[in-house]
């Protein structure tokens, strides 16, 4: 049984490795630093054709073109910002997974913070109200007397 498991695991990981490298062409970079920037930029740029993939993962022809372009620009010495600007000028803010902050993307950037704060606010309100409901202070004087006599009676029985 253990042996079977090992075999299955091995096949599984082999498949995973295959699929992870299926898309990627090999580019020879002149420095490891460029290679690193290539990886991070291609993970951040979105494929315009297959909208929920970045260009690193996509096999669409347009993604291949953009990867080649990215490689050429990196080797040419462009900065990250220059490359992003170049892409945005042609494909719009859409092409970035982290679009710049402006009036169109404000809701996108701020919504998580607003929702989180709102959630905390609701949480605090609810907790306060609940703890208030069971506080002893909310008993009137006669109710307190009644409670005390009940407790005394119970203690006597013990």
């Amino acid at each position: 049984m253990i042996r079977l498991c090992t075999v299955v695991m091995a096949v599984w990981s082999a498949l995973a490795v295959l699929s992870a490298h299926a898309v990627i062409e090999t580019y020879e970079f002149s420095s490891p630093e460029l290679q690193e920037r290539y990886q991070s930029l291609s993970a951040e740029l979105r494929c315009p054709k297959c909208q929920n993939q970045n260009i690193a993962d996509s096999n669409a022809p347009i993604a291949q073109d953009l990867r080649r372009l990215l490689y050429e620009q990196l080797e040419k010495g462009s900065s990250d910002q220059e490359i992003l600007d170049y892409m945005v000028a042609r494909y719009g803010e859409f092409v970035r997974y982290r679009p710049s902050f402006d009036s169109a993307t404000a809701a996108l950037w701020l919504a998580p913070i607003v929702l989180l704060l709102g959630g905390f606010g609701l949480l605090i309100l609810t907790v306060r109200r609940r703890s208030g409901a069971v506080a002893l202070d909310s008993l009137s004087a006669s109710e307190k007397d009644q409670l005390r006599s009940l407790v005394d009676a119970a203690e006597k029985e013990v």
Binding site: P48, K49, Q51, A60, P61, I62, D65, L69, V88, A89, R90, Y91, G92, F94
Partner: protein, 179 residues
């Protein structure tokens, strides 16, 4: 009374969500405005299809026209081809951008199916396509007389698209050109 009303909160939230999601059903995520709307057509220097002469931006602008990005490997381009021919026959100037294609195959296509284009730009390496922000053929741009891009349509141009979207834009641009 207030706690009673509170019982309706989930229903309200549901109704709001349902409205939002229903609206989402009729939105097409592929309908993205081009980043080049109201910007001039990019500069280029490419051969005409067949390779006899070099074309630049100035050669293909000067009147309101459609720019149609097409290729022989693009199945939808074959679908829209008869309708483009119809438009061309009706006098609509259409400039072809033959995108990442082989000249021989493209010329054969035009010979077999007819040529709706006033001129064809051979964008063999897709450089003009890249500057235009093309992400797949077919795409059709409305370019005004000054060579400024006014609209982009992604996908097949058919009677419905022409009548409801492209024709009004073309007519308006032509009218403002005359004035």
């Amino acid at each position: 009374m207030a706690p009673r009303l509170k019982l309706f909160a989930p229903l309200l939230i549901f109704a709001l969500l349902a409205l939002l999601l229903f609206r989402g059903l009729s939105l097409d995520p592929r309908e993205m405005p081009s980043a080049l709307i109201d910007k001039p057509l990019p500069e280029f220097e490419l051969f005409s299809l067949g390779g006899q002469r070099t074309l630049t931006r100035e050669d293909v602008t000067g009147q309101v026209s459609l720019f149609n990005v097409w290729a022989t490997w693009c199945v939808s381009c074959r679908v829209e081809h008869p309708y483009l021919q119809q438009l061309a026959d009706a006098g609509v100037p259409i400039v072809g951008v033959n995108y990442k294609d082989e000249d021989a195959a493209a010329l054969q296509w035009l010979q077999d199916l007819g040529n709706p284009y006033t001129v064809n730009i051979a964008d063999r390496d897709g450089t003009l396509g890249l500057d235009l922000g093309v992400y797949g053929a077919p795409e059709t741009y409305v370019v005004d007389a000054d060579g400024v891009i006014r609209y982009r349509h992604v996908g097949v141009v058919d009677e419905r698209v022409w009548r409801s979207i492209l024709e009004p834009i073309v007519l308006e641009l032509t009218a403002s050109e005359v004035n």
